[in-house]
Amino acid sequence: MSRPLPRGRHGLTREFVEQDQRERLLAAIAGALLERGYDETTVSLIGSRARVSKSDFYRHFDSKEECFIAAYEEGVERVRARVVAAWDEQTEWADRVCAGLAAGLGCLGREPEWANLLLVEGLRAGPEVYGRFQLAVDSFVPYLRDGAPRPRRGKAAPEEFDEAVLGGVASLVGRQVLAGRADGLERIFPEVAEFALTPYLGPAEARRIISAR
């Protein structure tokens, strides 16, 4: 995806070229952010990584920030697509949660520049981007809530745990990525899954389900 199109005349449609450039720019900003951080990432740097000229950059985006926001949205949708696909393959609630978490961790772990963009840079790049981070995490609440069991003891309703679980997972995964351990994300699946299932099923049942996987 990061290879530029062949130079010179080619039979590709304008739409295709534009789309290809846009994708390369989004990939480039993710890579640049991992390498340099937000402040040191410039439009020139993004352009050169993407092999897109500065003037072409400005045909797609008004600014670095706009490029970042577009990359953010793209990143969220990629993760969401994988999580939802994995979710849909299962029928039982606990299996769905495990499949969704595994898919999310796997996808972030395989692409550290996107993990960094979504979970580290996303928290630092100003209120507009942070708002999107929040919305992204909140958007998984309905999946967690759908079919979730009521705890047999305790007074709190299960939906009160949904946000706390997702927030905790986002915080933990973010800290792992921040510490440079993005490629180890799949390894922490058992503890993340246990943490997610425990408020609904209790620790013993949560552990049993995860070790049976």
């Binding site: 402040d39 928290l123 630092r124 790049a125 100003g126 209120p127 942070y130 929040q134 995490v137 705890p151 047999r152 003891r153 305790g154 007074k155 709190a156 009160e160 745990f161 946000e163 706390a164 679980v165 997702l166 927030g167 905790g168 997972v169 986002a170 915080s171 933990l172 800290r175 921040l178 922490i188 058992p190 503890e191 993340v192 246990e194 943490f195 425990t198 408020p199 609904y200 099923l201 209790g202 620790p203 013993a204 049942e205 949560a206 552990r207």
Partner: protein
């Protein structure tokens, strides 16, 4: 009639610093850190520009000082409320109650620490991360050690609590933060209780 004794210089200076920090916190809540100018701060705090610069290098330093003071106060209250409690479950509840009580009492400072700090400057973001780590350490001191739970359980629990408190502040319901106590206590204790 003898004239009133002058207040000690340090007291006056500290009081002015407090006013400057509170003014910044209020302005951040109203219009965000970026839009807040030194002139806004000195006008709100009713101090001279020179006074601000005598006490702080600039806007960021005011922010960091306000953050540090609020963090220290919150941590102090949590530690104090936990100190007298023997039972670890009750200690967790007492600590949460102290934290939520602080948020309810100081919504503007809570917002500064938990919302504004994340987007103001890289230094303020690092302060937030360090403060979160301090709370993780505190939680670790109360929560029982269990071989069956991962080392990261403290981090995940505190992260989840922070998220919920953040949402509460964002929805302008900081003053009702203490309402969250039952659900957050249950959330923190859940991994340690048998048969859910």
């Amino acid at each position: 009639m003898p004239s009133r004794p002058a207040l000690p210089r340090e007291f006056i200076a500290a009081h002015k610093q407090r006013r400057i920090m509170d003014a910044l916190a209020e302005l951040c809540a109203e219009q965000g850190y970026e839009a807040t100018k030194i002139s806004d701060i000195v006008r709100r705090a009713k101090v001279a520009r020179k006074t601000l610069y005598d006490n702080f290098d600039g806007k960021e330093e005011v922010f960091l000082a306000a953050f540090d003071a609020a963090r220290d106060e919150a941590i102090g209250r949590v530690e104090e409320s936990c100190a007298a409690v023997e039972d670890w479950g009750q200690r967790v509840e007492a600590g949460l109650a102290a934290l939520l009580g602080y948020v309810a009492q100081e919504p503007v400072l809570a917002r500064l620490c938990m919302i504004e700090a994340l987007s103001a400057t890289p230094a303020t973001t690092r302060r937030y991360e360090d403060a979160l780590a301090a709370f993780v350490k505190l939680a670790g001191e109360s929560l029982p050690r269990s071989k069956r739970l991962p080392e990261t359980i403290d981090e995940t629990l505190v992260g989840g609590v922070a998220w919920i408190v953040y949402q509460q502040i964002r929805r302008e319901q900081a003053r009702d933060a203490v309402d969250l106590l039952p659900q957050l206590t249950e959330f923190m204790l859940a991994p340690y209780l048998e048969a859910g």
